[in-house]
Symmetry: C2
Subunit: 307 residues, 2 copies
């Protein structure tokens, strides 16, 4: 695996790959690679001949300077992990290569997709930072496929909208969330959890599980399903920023009876010094007309198995 720092060198390298007829997959990361990232790299290897892992802690998507400073930076370990996972290129540009002097552009997805959930709590600027850097990375690499993780469900939605709206010629692939044995979603921020935080954090996947179970038991009322998740967090002494049960296409909050099809249960929860997010898709099966006909859940269990 080669580590590349500049766009010019990256393009020279990829030009010869393309001439050789090789397809290219991109896995955008902010480093601190964990099993979740390795699942993305594995998916990219399935989907393309050559895999570029980008490692860039993008300052413009951090609403909180403290969070940016505290974000783990472990490039030497990341290079070993990416190479072991079969990546061909680690693209790790310095900030000045990505945002040179005079940089003045921004790519925005407007409206509810960036205003709700993470947008409401981190500010819409968070997603403008994401869409700008993703557009740049897609233009730098020109991949056939780019792979994202389902843990960042809203980000996936926003990136899909971006790619469709701006006619970016790339296929977006989404890989299920990878979890610890106790269910906690893998995240680069987990390393910042103190032992006492780590013990409490398991309440997050348990909250999602509680909602899934209630749905599986036949409950259809959105407020009741949401409350099941809230109760678990509350019992653990956690104060979520949000517990949203929403339309997975528009992020509009569900009210009343859940419709047939998928709904997105998404949470953001501060645990000690760390803000964690997680989500699960809850699916009401088409045939499920009443409480006696348990729905399938395309959620946590399935995702855990896939991870």
């Amino acid at each position: 695996m080669r580590t590349i720092r500049t766009v010019a060198e990256l393009r020279t390298h990829l030009r010869s790959s393309r001439r050789a007829g090789r397809t290219v997959g991109l896995v955008p990361t902010m480093g601190a690679l964990h099993d979740g990232h390795l699942a993305l790299i594995a998916a990219a290897r399935e989907a393309a001949d050559e895999v570029v892992v980008s490692l860039f802690v993008n300052p413009t998507q951090f609403n909180d300077a403290g969070d940016l400073d505290a974000y783990p930076r472990t490039e030497a370990d990341d290079a070993v992990a990416a190479a072991d996972a079969g990546a061909h290129v680690l693209f790790a540009p310095p900030v000045a290569e990505v945002y040179p002097d005079g940089f003045a552009s921004e790519v925005r997805v407007g409206g509810p997709l960036t205003e709700r959930l993470e947008g409401a709590h981190r500010g819409a600027g968070h997603f403008h930072g994401v869409t700008t850097v993703v557009t740049k990375l897609l233009n730098m690499v020109g991949p056939d496929v780019a792979v994202f993780g389902a843990k960042d469900a809203q980000q996936v939605l926003v990136v899909r909208r971006l790619v469709r709206d701006l006619d970016v010629p790339v296929r977006i692939e989404v890989v299920p969330t990878v979890r610890e044995p106790d269910g906690l979603a893998r995240s680069s921020r987990n390393v910042r959890l103190r032992p006492e935080d780590r013990a409490v954090a398991v309440a997050i996947p348990r909250a999602l599980d509680a909602a899934s179970s209630l749905l599986a038991d036949g409950e259809r009322d959105a407020a009741a399903v949401r409350a099941a998740a809230e109760r678990v967090l509350d019992d653990a002494g956690l104060r979520p920023e949000y517990v949203a049960l929403a339309d997975p296409a528009t992020l509009a909050e569900r009210e009343g009876a859940l419709p047939v099809g998928p709904s997105l249960l998404a949470v953001a929860v501060p645990v000690g010094p760390v803000r964690l997010i997680d989500n699960v898709e809850l699916v009401v099966a088409p045939s499920a007309a009443g409480a006696d006909d348990p729905p399938s859940t395309g959620g946590l269990q399935a995702a855990t198995a896939a991870g």
Copy 2:
């Protein structure tokens, strides 16, 4: 020449061109093709094997609904002209193909480049409309080179910034303004000039000429050079929106003595029902230490000759 209406068909067509090793040039237009556009197409033919002329009257860059409605639409004639000029594809998508339901994205260049001159008078939204549709067209076509006209000097500056900032893998080429025999810059809007407007409109290139001549005579004071242009417009009874003499990289207004190198003299002038823009580059030669050493002007004369 083929006329193509959808992105899918365009990509299929270009894929086979690329497989055959042909490079692609894009000439983005809003139709109503005139000699200025034909010069762009000729430049694209020089620069690439296959030339795509896009024809799309982009609603999002019109700040004035009346201007959008009145914008000339002459696709049948345009197709003949583009084919005669050697274009291979006329890409003329309907609005719904470019902005489908749910479209929510915007590409912005922020700061002085879009806030000054046209941005100040048409609103920054004008350029956001331009940069969004140019990004889309570049993504749809994936050209090796895209060709723009020098008449829209600020647009060229903004597009160059966009391409650099977002790492769009395309070369931008700029073609000098093509003029009528009396000097009026060719514009799709000229057809809307009534005969009495057309007679007056010649004051615009004469104003630029007057400033160029004054500079050639040794004048270095920015205010004096600007005033020379303003006087010609005023004498013709025209009320310009702006007469700017600016740094061509930042559009910051020149004050005091003009520095060595190029300055941009740009004007926007309503003539009857039509708003016209024009510009010329004024160059103070490096050796010109004083008024006795006349500078070269890289401006109107040179551009007229090239057109």
